[in-house]
Symmetry: C2
Subunit: 396 residues, 2 copies
């Protein structure tokens, strides 16, 4: 039994979801008897499990095979600017537990990481199947080195070697990736990206990022940092951005820009249903509160969300003209909470700016995934890496 053939078979069973011995023999071009003997070995070692018998096309019954979801579990952590989210998933990415904690990034990097470590240690006590860690982070990430290079709008967090820190702490395979990208991976596996080839996932929360898929594969660029949509220029003479450039999309359409604009309006005494709450707590205005006020026809919040929609529409028109995708999926807090106020101005702006021939083919949809999506995507990436590294020798 060759290791390379066994590894190929394992990957095929994992990626197919379900398959029969006959399917596997056809897809690998290996002899059915040889495939059967490898399958038996994988079953003995509990890497794969048998499902129910189903009728095959020639009337004979065949047995479906599945990858064992409990072969290993994975901890996934999304470190966000406001909250961190911690999940445990099985090997196929199904969420087994979910917890949301304040990320307390302003209290410093060590403080933020310590509270995450406490949660993880608790989880490890409860689940002895955990064999890997996936970290999703909204900063600028160097994937190859598993580092946070810097974190726009958060001080500190410069050249943080997250992968090394976690791998040393737990001695497990650890993957570090941008959270817009990990969410996009979840979108492709379980969400609105399923079966799509050329599509773009746009994450709009505190910041704005994108993940570009070409022929079903995530495109990363020459050093892994493609997709910085939030820092593309849509208004050359526009306001300054935190990145030092002028007129970036983020200045006019990110969650933090929206909160900033509403706060400025309230400070200026613009009439709004948020005025009273704001007079108590200048820092506490959330996107959720703004979206909810807009739905009750608060003019200030309606105006500012509509403006954000128009600017996002400009950026999406640029994506449409440049990349001609079949679908754009909007994820993140902003479209989740403010869909009703945002989408109509967004689509109108996009349509008026993009080429008719491209825009008529694109489908703009709002993600339906839950708020564990970024952490789950990190688990999926880690499971994929475990699949490469789990000792095939142990079963061959």
């Amino acid at each position: 039994m060759r290791k390379s053939e066994l590894a190929r078979l394992v990957k095929l069973i994992y990626s197919e979801g379900e398959s029969s011995r006959v399917d596997l023999a056809t897809k690998t071009s290996l002899a059915p008897s040889y495939v059967s003997s490898m399958v038996n070995r994988l079953q003995q070692k509990k890497w794969i499990i048998e499902g129910s018998h189903v009728a095959s096309d020639r009337g004979r019954r065949k047995v479906l095979l599945y990858f064992n979801p409990d072969l290993a579990h994975v901890v996934g952590v999304e470190i966000g600017r406001v909250h961190s989210r911690i999940v445990v998933t099985d090997f196929l990415g199904k969420t087994l537990s979910f917890k949301k904690i304040p990320s307390q990034v302003s209290a410093g990097e060590d403080h933020a990481l310590n509270s995450i470590h406490r949660e993880i240690k608790e989880l490890l006590k409860q689940d002895d199947k955990i064999q890997g860690m996936g970290i999703a982070h909204s900063g600028v990430i160097d994937r190859a080195r598993g580092m946070v290079l810097f974190w726009p709008k958060v001080s500190g967090w410069r050249d943080v070697e997250l992968r090394r820190a976690f791998a040393e702490e737990y001695g497990m395979a650890t993957v570090v990736e941008d959270s817009a990208r990990t969410t996009a991976i979840t979108e492709q596996r379980f969400g609105l990206g399923k079966g799509q080839k050329d599509f773009v996932f746009v994450h709009a929360g505190v910041g704005i990022g994108a993940a570009i898929f070409v022929d079903g594969e995530l495109y990363s660029g020459c050093n892994g940092i493609a997709g910085e949509l939030g820092h593309t220029t849509i208004d050359e003479t526009g306001p300054l951005c935190s990145c030092g450039n002028r007129g970036c999309l983020e200045v006019s359409a990110s969650g933090s820009a929206i909160i900033q604009k509403v706060s400025t309006g309230l400070e200026q005494g613009v009439a709004s249903s948020l005025s009273e709450a704001f007079s108590h707590d200048h820092q506490g205005i959330s996107l959720e509160a703004i979206a909810s006020a807009a739905e009750s026809h608060d003019r200030l919040c309606e105006t500012i969300l509509a403006e954000a929609g128009i600017h996002l529409g400009t950026a999406l028109a640029n994506i449409v003209n440049l990349l001609n995708p079949e679908r754009i999926i909007l994820g993140g807090t902003l479209p989740r909470v403010a869909k009703n106020s945002l989408m109509e101005p967004l689509k109108r702006s996009m349509r008026s700016r993009a080429f008719q021939r491209s825009v008529s083919r694109v489908d703009v949809v709002v993600s339906e995934l839950g708020e564990d999506a970024a952490a789950v995507g990190a688990c999926l990436l880690t499971a994929n890496q475990l699949l490469e590294s789990l000792s095939i020798a142990a079963v061959s």
Copy 2:
């Protein structure tokens, strides 16, 4: 001898440039004796030719094989707004003849095409090896249907079925493609795109277009019209563009915008070395004349070219942030004639707007190809299609 194996071998020999029988057997995983018998058949039919004997790595001498460049010749036509360029190339894309004629598009579509047909008929009389036609066009192209959908800045030319017209006239394989893309194909085969994986070719002439390469393959988008960089928005409140949008890159940085701005300056009486020439001929200001005046420190032309460079730099920064390419190749008339005035402001603007981590990795270069590049690329695409369709049955 199986047709499918023969076809695979033919494509391999074509794409490799040069190869020995041993290389071919290794790359196809076919038995050396079987490869030899196919090679002999292809030689008898003159599809491939033998080159010189060279020393192989084990000291034995081996014979290099080449695709026969004269198996078929191809006519390539670039239909531009000012000039049309007509080439004949051999099967490997080497230019055998080149002619430039006024395209006279303003005299109507039939008139423009008739003068091209006259040239082609002359060429067909002189070269009986011609077996295909490649048409490069700067309008918006539907590749699948071989049609010009419309041509910004040129009236008429709506839904022109170029492929059908040429195929009916000559009974030959005909390919119709966007001229920025055909130039990019030439750039990849013979120019600065050779060996690059993730790169972008930006064509800046009368209009501005881009061809995006992902992992060495041209990316087309879901219905074949990706790359409309000229109509991405860089200034939301900017001037109106001919496409109906506001603040497109083309309004501020295309060749026609530059000519328009210089003309307006001259009409307003701005001092310029072009004033006298302009007073005789309001229509006749060329990019070449503007570039040459700028090099002699004509302030008007220097200012307007520098402005165009700054705006192009903004658009390239957007490409850098979104796509993180390893190289951007600038082609077309504008960088060819105005490189000295354009590139410094362009690079400064790009660097100041793009993320340091991405922009430090990208290499911005000006194409060194000749003005036959777009037509040659059309020939390469046609040769590729001929390779698929030439009757393999004839040699098998």
